[in-house]
């Protein structure tokens, strides 16, 4: 296992599209590093540059102690799992998993041993003689993982590997993948557009947008304090409420009298956008708070999501299932708990400390 460094990576395609503007990443040895962003943000291109499937326009990729820019994919000693698995359809599961080992010209006895070991770990033993077309999606996914594992590569690259599984299986595989990565203490670069997956898996998350890095940090850091408005909108479901507010005496005050605890580092009188998580708002039938009206109600069992209209805009509020409000009911909304991050409306960067 090894660390992966991406230095000043820039990638433009021949048709002029710039996929990656300039990217610097340091991915530690044994880290599960998630690149998160919407489609077209450059995350997959970055991964393909690390793999050597795309040639970077400028910049450098280092794997371990070796500068791999210019090396062929086969010389980089990395394994990749593709979104569509790319299992060789004409080979059996056993031959699929043995494929990279045969490329390395390992003795056949060791090939068998390593394939059996991986098959045992991934519970693929009953399927070894089958062709990929006779496997379910989850089984194909595990074969693809097995094919990556058998080589003991320097790093694993994962290109949205769970996207094609149905929801239930995806959660199972997510847990299995995390467990496997910890057990092998492997360096893993994981690309996804699913923020839940990123939060669940990542040791660190890099949020990307339009070829740029928006934020880099641990899952809780990214959740609690998104560095930009883009990151604030992208992480969390339902998304963060972005409320325009003015810094007043010790508070942030939004339209309609909604007062929010003020974070540090703001000058009085400044106009900011406060990023308030739905669980930091609460609804009451009477009492203090800003006036609001319930627009919709989603009872999810363990919690209920209310969407309310207030003078400060449309807000998502996460409430315990015991809260009972009807649609169209007039309520009071108020902020609870710690101060939220605040953003400059023009630069869209976080300004609170």
């Amino acid at each position: 296992m090894a660390e992966v460094l991406v230095k000043r990576l820039h990638k433009a395609f021949p048709d002029g599209t710039v996929a990656v503007e300039e990217l610097n990443l340091e991915i530690g040895d044994g880290e599960l590093f998630v690149m998160l962003g919407p489609s077209g943000c450059g995350k997959t291109t970055t991964l393909r540059c690390i793999a050597g499937l795309e040639q970077e326009t400028s910049g450098q990729i280092v794997i371990g102690d070796e500068v791999v820019s210019g090396l062929r994919p086969s010389q980089r000693d990395i394994a990749m799992v593709f979104q569509f698995y790319a299992l060789y359809p004409h080979l059996t599961v056993r031959d699929n998993m043995a494929f990279p080992l045969r490329a390395a010209k390992l003795p056949e006895a060791e090939v068998t041993e390593r394939v059996n070991e991986a098959a045992r770990m991934l519970q693929l033993e009953p399927f070894l003689t089958r062709r990929p077309s006779r496997l379910s999606g989850g089984e194909q996914q595990r074969v693809a993982l097995g094919r990556a594992m058998v080589r003991h590569p320097k790093a694993f690259l994962m290109d949205e590997p769970l996207t094609n599984l149905d929801a239930e299986l995806r959660a199972d595989m997510r847990a299995e993948l995390k467990h496997l990565q910890e057990r092998l203490s492997s360096t893993m670069v994981y690309v996804t557009h699913d923020q839940t997956e990123a939060m669940a898996l990542g040791d660190r998350i890099a949020i990307m947008n339009k070829g740029r890095l928006e934020q880099l940090g641990g899952p809780m850091e990214v959740y609690e304090r998104p560095a930009t408005l883009f990151a604030a909108r992208f992480i969390g479901s339902p998304p963060m409420n972005l409320v325009e507010a003015e810094v007043t005496n010790g508070h942030l005050t939004a339209a309609g009298g909604l007062t929010i605890a003020a974070p540090e580092g703001l000058t009085r009188g400044a106009q900011v956008i406060a990023g308030v998580r739905p669980e930091r708002l609460t609804l009451t039938a009477t009492g203090t708070g800003a006036n609001a009206r319930i627009v919709s109600r989603e009872a999810l069992g363990d919690e209920t999501i209310y969407v309310v209209d207030s003078e400060a805009g449309r807000l998502n509020v996460r409430m315990p299932p015991t809260a009972r409000f009807d649609e169209e009911q007039a309520v009071k909304v108020s902020h609870i708990g710690a101060a939220p991050p605040a953003y400059d409306p023009k630069t869209e960067q976080v300004v609170s400390t």
Binding site: A51, G52, R72, P73, F84, Y88
Partner: protein
């Protein structure tokens, strides 16, 4: 609360015809009388020459010239003419040999050159790729006969007239654009990810193609090669223009050469034509699926 549940049976019966199943379009197994008559006339018109050829090939020479013609009965089948085709002094037998050599060689050349270039056009970023592909296709826009004279002049200077090598070259050149376009269609259908996965698994670019994409292409290559083979086998114009020596003539022009002169042995002509048609029929049967589906068919399910 149960207001939205329909009374049982309503959905099955259909409400006011709304949910009634559309009338089943009856497809009779044989068809209406009119269809049968039209198709029968069509079949007779199309198949009569073929039938006549088969009959002539199997008739005694006397029966062939009989007046009135013995169409269905009154003659006994004989393999006399078929034997003549394969006799050592038969002018068509060497024609068949030459045809096999030329058709096979030109198909092999076109496939060996066409498959790798189709792969390159499918997978690599090549400058002006579309223009190049259009140019390659454009060689098929005109009928081949247009270039017969220039090719004849070139071949005369290169001493390629009357040689099988020359004819092989021409046929390979005509088959190459077809092979490239058809194979590109097949290769486009194979996801590039297979090769990328193989490259990450430790193989070079070409090894990845050879070990992963190639096995998936074999049905496509077989179909394409059969088309090329049929073209080379059937080709007549270049064969008759570029080759005058009976020793190197291919079958189509050798058979045509039987006609004319003082007498024409129609039995031999028909028997040769019958034997000539058999390989094409056999191969066309092998690729009948591809004949219908054309180039766009997918060889591999994603």
């Amino acid at each position: 609360m149960a207001a939205h549940i329909q009374p049982s049976g309503l959905a099955d019966e259909g409400i006011a015809g709304e949910t009634a199943t559309p009338p089943v379009r009856r497809r009779p197994r044989i068809g209406s009388g009119f269809e049968i008559i039209v198709l029968a006339i069509f079949a007779i018109v199309m198949l009569f020459p073929v039938l006549w050829m088969l009959e002539t090939a199997l008739k005694d020479t006397g029966d062939i010239y009989a007046v009135p013609a013995k169409v269905i009965s009154g003659w006994t089948p004989t393999l006399e003419h078929v034997k003549d085709v394969f006799s050592s002094n038969s002018p068509v037998f060497s024609g068949f040999k030459n045809s096999v050599i030329v058709a096979a060689a030109s198909t092999i050349i076109a496939t060996l050159l066409g498959v790798p270039s189709a792969w390159a056009y499918s997978r690599f970023a090549i400058p002006a790729k579309k223009d190049q592909l259009f140019f390659i296709l454009s060689t098929r826009f005109m009928p081949p006969v247009v270039v017969v004279i220039p090719v004849f002049l070139m071949f005369r200077d290169l001493n390629l007239l009357d040689t099988l090598q020359g004819l092989t070259l021409v046929y390979a050149a005509f088959n190459l654009p077809f092979t490239i376009w058809m194979m590109k269609g097949f290769i486009d259908e194979v996801p590039a990810e297979y090769e990328e996965a193989a490259m990450l698994d430790g193989y070079s670019r070409f090894e990845a193609f050879w070990r992963v994409t190639m096995p998936l292409l074999i049905p496509g290559i077989a179909a394409t090669a059969v088309f090329a083979l049929i073209f080379s086998w059937n080709e007549f114009v270049f064969s008759i223009f570029l080759i005058t020596d009976p020793g190197t003539r291919t079958a189509p022009s050798a058979i045509a050469g039987l006609i004319g002169g003082t007498t024409t042995d129609w039995g031999l002509v028909a028997a040769s034509a019958m034997i000539f048609a058999i390989p094409v029929l056999a191969f066309a049967f092998l690729v009948r699926k591809h004949l219908v589906a054309g180039v766009t068919l997918g060889a591999v399910r994603r």
